[in-house]
Amino acid sequence: MWTTTNQNKEQLSILHDRDVIICRNRIKEVAVKIGMGIVNQTKLITAVSELARNMLIYAGGGNVIVEVVARGREQGVKIVFEDKGPGIQDIAKAMQDGFTTGKSMGMGLPGAKRLVSEFNIESTVGKGTTIKIVKWKNG
């Protein structure tokens, strides 16, 4: 469910598969609104897909907060993914290509990082994980 928490901030909770798609569609709309090109849009929503799905799979859900930000005259989309799941024990490992604790490809986190302009991950075992990303319009 999206709610407006601020003039240009929106929040969505990810609880089901369907929420990942809703989230992606909305973020695409925001990206289009600031005039982001199709390649960067696709990179952004693919990263969003990975991070939102991770929250769903490993943390049982979480919140996504979207905001339009500016750096000088360039605009970008900032997204925060926060969950209260089990946290990640070894972040460096989790960020490696091919590392997975499931039986997946282990490309989600490192891939998402490559697809966006800024990527920041914080995680505390037993507390949860917060990932912040920014994709600049021309970034």
Partner: protein
């Protein structure tokens, strides 16, 4: 509005609540929608508490203040639960707006000496409650949008037709998201189509898939593997340029699959494998 007035309102919470729930329009319009007067009073008391607890002399003119988030969350939740119970957005908004009358009535009783202050505070409270009403509307609309989006997705996902494009070649266009459930349907239909039409090449067209993330990629790989087990070949077509760039950055290796940019080039490839030639009538021979 001064801090004193905010405090005074908080101190008079019970009086405001009584004033509110005993309004004629509230009992007439909404009496039927609540199971009992007690329900109405309990719900109203919660909302009033949320308003009075979170409203401050500062944020009353700034709905986006972060300390108002609990109130906004509460109103969103209230709207959603009322929407589920079948209240119209009008009913919910009118219900919220009716709080204004009660607040203003008590405000008038609290500020008796200073008409200017009363006027200023009245304006601020009016605007504040109006904004809460708007939040409720927004929530309602978003809720609807989500339902619509969900339906659109479901519809798109229902249709996964297998098309026989040529003797020995079938194609399946995928439109929408390729999640686990849908991959299952796609795979079953494709495998069955291959057997039924005795085809040896299946083209999976993903032009209508919005993004290829690691999950979709995995599903594609699984589907291709299953098709190979039947002894057939699979071509993935409709890889748009932006998808190609994204997949490369994501770090996923699709090079073990045959991929083509367009359905036409996938068909050309399939003809090649089946040693078929397409050429202009009358001409002896031309390159495909």
């Amino acid at each position: 509005m001064t801090r004193n007035i905010v405090t005074a309102l908080q101190e008079n919470q019970d009086r405001i609540l009584d004033q509110w729930v005993n309004q004629r329009e509230l009992s007439e319009d909404f009496g039927g929608n609540f199971n009992s007067f007690d329900d109405l009073k309990a719900q109203s008391s919660e909302l009033l508490t949320a308003v009075l607890e979170n409203m401050t002399a500062e944020n009353i003119t700034d709905l986006y203040a972060s300390d108002l988030e609990p109130l906004i969350e509460y109103v969103s939740g209230l709207t959603l639960s009322r929407a589920k119970q079948g209240f119209s957005p009008r009913e919910t908004a009118t219900y919220i707006f009716s709080l204004k009358d009660a607040l203003l009535k008590v405000l008038g009783e609290l500020i008796t000496e200073d008409p200017k202050e009363l006027y200023r505070s009245t304006l601020e409270i009016s605007k504040f409650i109006d904004n809460i009403g708007i939040v409720s509307f927004e929530t309602f609309i978003r809720g609807r949008e989500e339902v619509i989006l969900g339906q659109a997705d479901e519809m798109a996902e229902l249709s996964t037709p297998v098309i026989k494009v040529w003797e020995g070649i079938i194609a399946m266009p995928i439109i929408g998201t390729l999640d686990s459930a849908r991959t299952q349907v796609v795979m079953e239909n494709l495998l069955q189509g291959i057997v039924e039409t005795e085809s040896s090449i299946a083209i999976l067209d993903i032009s209508g898939v919005p993004a290829v993330d690691s999950l979709v990629a995995q599903h594609l790989i699984k589907t291709v593997n299953a098709i190979r087990l039947l002894g057939a070949d699979c071509v993935i077509s409709g890889i748009r340029p932006e998808i190609a760039q994204t997949v490369v950055h994501l770090g996923i290796d699709l090079s073990k699959m045959v991929t083509k940019a367009t359905l036409a080039s996938a068909l050309r490839y399939a003809y090649g494998i089946l040693q078929l030639e397409v050429r202009k009538a009358g001409k002896e021979k031309s390159n495909l």
